[in-house]
Amino acid sequence: MSRFAELLDDFFYRPDEDVAGLQDFAAGSDGTQASAPEEVPEEYLAFRLEGECYAVPIRVVREISKVPPLTEIPRAEGQLLGVMNLRGELLPVYDIKVRLRLAERPPVVAGPEAPPPPRDARILVLRTESGPAGVWVDNVMGVVKLKPSMLEVAPPGLRTSDRDCVVGIGRRGPTLYILLDSEQALAS
């Protein structure tokens, strides 16, 4: 691909990862286990934060976007990383690592001092009660289907102190998914 074509690619924005495609992919891999009819599996979007696996119900995810240049909001609360422009729509982008005690302070990702974002980093655009909001994730793993029997309540030790962002644990094979309540995680 020529350099020019790349430039054009940049110019024409394309959502590179379509959730719908992932869903199809996940549905195919899951065909064998859908034997018990009374157990309706729910779909979750799994992603990584500082190496840990987290998941949110897929219905709260509106879309997944590459990290565009973010603009910092002066004097904003710490967990607000900045605003992004998604096809003309202005969206706030939040950090949830501090709330989950995965990091001491939010990363500097906006403004002239910010380094270019890591290749795999994505913004999940979540539907929340107060409008859409972006959440920075280190990478998106894919869609997992979890049946009610695969879910556990979060062990008390795992709970983050002030807010119950973690609603439970999903276990699927060897992997553990920490299930998040997006409203709580984004509450200011």
Binding site: S2, F4, N85
Partner: protein
């Protein structure tokens, strides 16, 4: 949006439209108080109330529907002449309109307050009781009209009433008979109606007794003419209409006495209005009618008269009579000429009287300024007129004038234009896609110059189309400020009454267009200013006379477009503001120090009225001038990036000048850089830009200020305010911003130039962010924040006050 709330929104939008129309008609009636009401207008209001009733019923709005029903009843009685449209009735109607607005506001909120329900019930009951019976002649004037009872029986009550009215007034009545082809009779009839309208009143349209041919249909239009027969003929040229006058017998003696009284002023005016040889006049229409009929009869070869059951007096006799002499006119049955009140005034035949007793004397509609008179007479006019005008429990007149609906009506042509533009954009997109595809397929092959040129051409086209689209969309958002002015005009009437003053309210420039959003936000500040002008600015009539001014004060509201801004002026010719009193009040309230007061110019003192905390309820009565919550007005305007200024001269009056941007959606902005970040400052609040060396910055009591042409300018470093890493610079650019009365210098590192930007609000989650009003795109998907100048000013001032 749920289906329920969508339906509600539609209901509110539609009801608002009906109320707007109703309000406009009422205003016209109000302006022509004391004159005979235009039946067309009353009927229009009746229909509006009727549609409102239906609409509210449909949407289950019980209270609205009930009140509308009561109003409809009242209007029905009015238009049928069972009730006279006196001041009491008119006041009640205006009051009902207010109640409708309040009800609709509650409906929009989904609320239902007890007090309003009670108020509506009282009002409905009052409407039902309302009424002074109309002056009715002892004898039914309709009996004097020679009309087939069969025809008369098919009239609706309203038509019969109108006909009776016309006979009573002695308007010349004509039957206009027209035959149309069945295939397009509706068009022909509409055309005929349109032609007749300016000439008088179409009282009824009936199917004609005469067959209209194999493929035709004929109609008889009963028409009360305001114009002479000749004018009528001329107006109907080219239509298949045939004219024939209807005969009205002279009134019997008893009724004639009443008519004398009724018609006296009219006849005087009629004789003044037209100078024409009286002998010739009455015969003219008759002859014409006769000739015409004769001609037609000859050409058709059938007896036209036989088929005119409505016209017992044959045309030929009339014609010969007319030719004979005018002295024959008083004799009943003889005159074919529409004879009105012959024994009162022999000269005043139909065509002479008609112009004099137009039911409505239309006010000349001025081109530039529309005048609304609101003269207040002392309320209790007589024992028969209970003072219903001022209802007990009427809420204060400070309800918001903001419309309840968010809808903008857009001309379909404009939308079509936009759609066309989108179509062209799609074409450009296809071209660009093709170019992208070919670039991809060529792979590493060096791109030709031709390719580059083609791409450049397409992007230029894209740019042009996008600009046009932007412009088109902005235009679609524009509405005339007159929308608000009309509402204010209604309000003025009420405030004037409450204040007991005589006001002439002058409106100008209602056609100037502003963004819908701004027009909406403007209504409350304007209401406030006008209220102030009437309550405090204008003196009482006696005081005015004593000061050698005309008794009636003038309050004016004018709009004018100047480039990208609209100037709106609210002025009065009242007593003006006493700046010394303003100074005293500001001193006693501790808003300024004595030292500050010492060195204040007159203008600065006047501007003290905009300070928050300047006005309290107590100061209203204390202060001869004004000052009710002007800080609120200033704030509202600040939110619209508007500036307010005041001019006042003792004894001459006061004027508030509001400067507003035409639109908020697209603004011109100054792009500045601070610590490597980029921000946009709305250019309409930028006064000037200075280049300042760090050594020029002074400190006064540890706050930084600049010396700007001998005046102290508060100064603020944006980097420091926003807690950004400050970079050492050799000189600052200071953007001097001003909103309303305040000035502030904002220091930035770089200036990047000016640009038109489309601001987007920060949205729900970011509402609490201070100092930023929105964000915009400067291309390249990079988001740039737009500074909220009003908030920064406020912050800067607060900082200053705290330090001071």
């Amino acid at each position: 949006m749920s289906p329920g709330s969508k339906a509600l929104a539609e209901f509110v939008a539609e009801a608002t439209e009906i109320l707007d129309a109703l309000g406009k008609d009422l205003l016209v009636l109000d302006e022509r108080r004391g004159q005979e009401a235009d039946p067309e207008l009353v009927n229009g209001i009746f229909r509006a109330a009727h549609s409102l009733k239906g609409l509210s019923g449909l949407f289950g709005q019980e209270r609205l529907s009930r009140l509308a029903h009561g109003t409809e009843d009242l209007l029905d009685r009015l238009r049928l002449g069972r009730l006279r449209l006196d001041d009491t009735a008119l006041d009640s109607l205006i009051e009902v309109l207010d109640a409708f607005q309040a009800l609709l506001a509650e409906a929009a909120r989904g609320a239902e307050s007890e007090s309003l329900t009670r108020r509506v019930e009282d009002m409905t009951a009052r409407l039902a009781r309302l009424g002074s019976p109309s002056v009715s002649a002892e004898e039914d004037p309709l009996d004097r009209l020679e009309l087939d009872p069969q025809v008369r029986s098919v009239f609706t009550e309203y038509e019969e009433h109108r006909l009776r009215e016309n006979v009573r007034r002695g308007v010349s009545l004509w039957r206009v008979r027209a035959a149309f082809d069945l295939s397009d009779f509706d068009k022909g009839l509409a055309d005929l109606n349109a032609r007749l309208k300016p000439l008088g009143e179409v009282i009824s349209t009936l199917p004609s007794a005469r067959p209209g041919g194999a493929h035709g249909i004929a109609f008889d239009l009963i028409f009360g003419a305001q114009a002479s027969g000749e004018q009528l003929e001329a107006g109907l040229k080219g239509t298949p209409a045939e004219l024939s006058p209807l005969v009205v017998h002279p009134a019997t003696h008893a009724a004639a006495q009443a008519l004398v009284r009724a018609a006296e002023p009219a006849t005087v005016r009629a004789s003044m209005g037209r100078v024409e040889a009286p002998e010739a006049a009455p015969s003219a229409p008759a002859k014409r009618g006769g000739k015409k009929k004769g001609a037609r009869a000859a050409s058709r070869g059938d007896a036209a008269q036989a088929q005119q059951p409505l016209l017992p007096a044959p045309g030929e006799t009339g014609a010969s009579h007319g030719a004979d002499s005018t002295s024959a006119a008083p004799a009943p049955h003889d005159a074919l000429v529409p004879v009105a009140l012959p024994e009162i005034h022999p000269v005043a035949d139909g065509e002479h009287v008609a112009p004099g007793i137009l039911p409505v004397a239309y006010l000349p509609v001025g081109g530039a300024a529309q005048r609304v008179r609101a003269v207040i007479s002392d309320p209790p006019a007589g024992p028969g007129a209970p003072p219903t005008g001022v209802a007990p429990g009427r809420p204060e007149g400070d309800t918001s004038l903001r419309s309840l609906t968010q809808t903008v009506r857009v001309d379909i042509g404009r939308l079509d234009g936009l759609i066309n533009m989108v179509g062209e954009l799609l074409l450009i997109k296809a071209n660009l896609q093709r170019l992208a595809e070919s670039a991809r397929q060529d792979g590493t092959v060096a791109l030709s110059k031709l390719f580059g040129q083609e791409l450049a051409r397409e992007t230029r086209g894209l740019e042009r189309k996008l600009e046009a689209l932007q412009e088109g969309l902005l235009e679609a958002r524009m509405v005339p400020v007159g929308q608000v002015f009309d509402k204010l005009a209604r309000l003025v009437r009420r405030i004037t009454r409450e204040a007991g003053k005589e006001i002439e309210f002058v409106i100008g420039g209602g056609e100037v267009e502003l963004d819908k959003l701004i027009v909406e936000e403007l209504s409350d500040p304007l209401m406030h200013l006008i209220r102030n002008a009437i309550d405090h600015g204008v003196e009482s009539p006696d005081a005015r006379l004593a000061a050698g001014k005309p008794r009636r004060a003038v309050v004016a509201l004018r709009a004018e477009q100047k480039g990208n801004h609209v100037l709106i002026e609210v002025s009065d010719d009242g007593a003006g503001i006493d700046e010394q009193r303003v100074r005293e009040v500001a001193l006693t309230r501790g808003l300024i120090t004595f030292a500050q007061a010492q060195e204040m110019s007159r203008r600065e003192m006047l501007n003290l009225i905009f300070l928050p905390g300047f006005s309290t309820a107590r100061s209203v009565s204390e202060l001869s001038g004004r000052g009710v919550g002007l800080d609120v007005v200033k704030n509202n305007l600040g939110n619209l990036s508007g500036i307010i200024d005041v001019w006042s001269e003792r004894g001459k009056g006061t004027a508030f000048n509001l400067t507003l941007p035409v639109t908020l959606a697209i603004i011109r902005a100054l792009v500045v850089g601070v610590s490597g970040r980029t921000y946009a400052v709305p250019l309409n609040s930028v006064l000037e830009i200075l280049s300042v060396q760090p050594k020029d910055i002074r400190t006064v009591e540890r706050r930084e200020v600049l010396d700007l042409r001998g005046q102290t300018l508060p100064f603020m470093r944006l980097a420091r305010m926003f807690a950004l890493p400050e970079r050492p610079v050799s000189r600052y650019f200071v953007v001097v911003v001003g909103l309303a009365q305040e000035r502030l210098g904002i220091a930035v590192d770089e200036l990047h130039g000016q640009q038109d930007i489309v601001t987007k609000p920060l949205g729900g989650r970011l509402q609490s962010v201070r100092g930023i009003s929105g964000a915009t795109d400067l291309g390249n998907r990079r988001t740039v924040l737009v500074l909220d100048v009003a908030a920064l000013l406020e912050e800067g001032m607060a900082l200053e006050r705290r330090r001071a």
